[in-house]
Symmetry: none
Subunit: 219 residues, 4 copies
């Protein structure tokens, strides 16, 4: 950067050609707006504008608004499962630790990020966009449930957890998280400080209680 006026962003070129960066920028913009305003209420033009491109450019990368939404989901949630599956396979601690680790990891990478809005979004608009609901079901819910089920199964197989109907027991882990998301993105913004939930405390409390209920008593 030899000269003082060398401009790293030269005059914000109107028609920059940045094929690689576009999809990511559009997905980020879409995530923010979908979460903030909902899927139906977000206009593709807004998404494009927020990503700094024109409406037409958006359709250059995503064939439709629904496909854009799917990309948002894949990028922010569905794409994480391979890593999580790998982590599960390598985990060496106790299953109780694994459950705690899983819940906190989820909070860090999804719950506390803008991606947390996606779940609430899907729930809210599933009725109006069945295709999106089905997609989410396939790409997120089923893999997510499977992952949790394998975690619980590990505990049972290692003699740490008591025998359970795993298909329903997973919801003891899922339900509090879904509730937390739903709360965060719908009621929390309207509540007085006294009614706010501290997520970490909430998660710890739920996990403790659940583990208490699951653990095989030594006696």
């Amino acid at each position: 950067m030899p000269t003082p006026r060398s401009n790293p962003e030269p005059a914000a070129p109107r028609r920059a050609r940045r094929k690689e960066a576009r999809p990511g920028e559009l997905i980020d913009a879409a995530l923010a707006l979908f979460v903030e305003k909902g899927f139906a209420a977000t206009r593709v033009e807004e998404v494009a504008a927020r990503a700094g491109v024109s409406k037409g450019t958006l359709f250059l990368y995503f064939p439709s608004k629904e496909d854009l939404f799917k990309a948002v989901v894949r990028e922010n949630i569905a794409g994480r499962f391979p890593l999580w599956t790998a982590e599960l396979a390598e985990f060496t601690g106790s299953s109780a630790e694994l459950v705690r680790y899983a819940m906190h990891t989820w909070w860090e990478h999804v719950g506390m990020t803008p991606a947390s809005g996606i779940t609430k979004l899907v729930m809210s608009e599933a009725g109006s966009f069945p295709e999106i609901a089905a997609f989410y079901q396939q790409e997120v819910i089923i893999p997510g449930n499977d992952l949790l089920k394998r975690i619980l199964q590990r505990g049972v197989e290692r003699g740490e957890f008591r025998a359970m109907d795993l298909d329903y027991a997973v919801y003891s882990l899922i339900a509090p998280m879904i509730f937390l998301l739903t709360w965060k993105h719908s009621m929390a913004p309207c509540c007085p400080p006294s009614q706010q939930l501290d997520p970490i405390t909430f998660i710890d409390t739920q996990v403790d209680l659940i583990l208490h209920g699951m653990l095989k008593l030594p006696a």
Copy 2:
């Protein structure tokens, strides 16, 4: 029908009687449709048709679709709480039984009725209608949480449950129920039979696990 005013209610000319009943009929129709199809996907014409009036008439009673939505929420959040509070005071069984009773009662009177859709409705549209969210918070959430808190407190005071942070513990009861509602009204309609949840099994499983985690060990 001897005198004109002898019987103001039954068998009165339909037109005349309706005038008073219109808003209620419209609200009922709107509740059913909003719950079934979501707010945005419900056309006011459908609501009017279901209430047996024309589109124009609806706007005679509700200045806008949003106002109709608000009326639906206000009309249906009702006061079942006084009755439940009384039941709690008179309950003589164990606290574990009380928890089970409370959960099943809620399912019977709210969860399995159309009213269950309201909660999902409010959650979904809270972002767009902060006023409604605040209203719901005051009239439903705070009283509901209080009621549950008193139930847990009873268990702790009677030495049945171990000491807990009650403000967070209540969510162990609330979260599965909210999840169940959310699920029922958003994803379930899009899921294959293999992915469906049986509500009673679900509730029993959750309550069992929670109680397991809450119970003071006899040892």
Copy 3:
């Protein structure tokens, strides 16, 4: 109409309610514009404006642009077949007279009216709107060919015309007419007066020649 200033068209009321008249007005407007500019190049808003209503009103009567077009075809062409079929059944003259009568009737009711543009329209845009082409085929071409075939068959059966492959012979009647329409609506407007065709002369010439070719020689 007691007072002098009673206005038969009172100040052109903006929102007149004329449910019965609308479809016809819209169809007329659509015919004119479709013929003038083509199907694809005509915007529904133009049609609505020409009919004196708003865009939304058009969709109140016709679910889509294609349905509007179908209505135009039904109203202006397809709907005439029943009458023509009846006329054929009652005709008592010679078959040569019948052919002449049919051709001139067609010219009067279709060829020289704006409806004549429809055929050219369909031919021009069939590639882009296969559904329209198929519709036209079903509702106009097949019935039209059938009608002509019956006319020729009558001549053969009565010993007036010689035996012919009727399936192909009908095109001796159809081709000149299609050509005439095509010409009228595409090339004619660009031609100098010296190149113009007189329709009546054209039809008479073609019919004479064809009949000459069809007639059974008395010898």
Copy 4:
């Protein structure tokens, strides 16, 4: 390939040779696509792709899609007329044979080749491009009509055909052919096999009928 410039044409580096060939290749691609899909339904990107270049390159040679269309028409209407005129002068058979020969020749060299699409193209788009229609009129229609007229005149002068209004009689030959083209390029692709026309049969039938109508009766 001893010297560098010895062979400017064959096996020359593709890039270099192309420069001159580009417009022609684009026109060929455009002809094929316009004929196949219609003007509006053909995207310039398709044309470019078919010609093996990018969209931008097309606009380097043709300022607009319309200009490309004009070029297609201008390039393909060519001059087969001189040859046909010569053939007419040398023909020694009967005039009926000449008519048959002319019709079949036309089918072979125009009707059954891609060039047949141009006529339909011009007819379809004449309304939007009067300039092209006028051009077509001068370069194709007038010479074509003249040629046919001379053929008929030959028959009359040789006493083979009866006296006719030749200016209109030529259309007995033209109309079926125009109809055939129109049909082939618009309705045929949408018709079931049962509705298809066999061109040779069609032409033979029409010619036979016409000749029948034209021939001077021996009596």
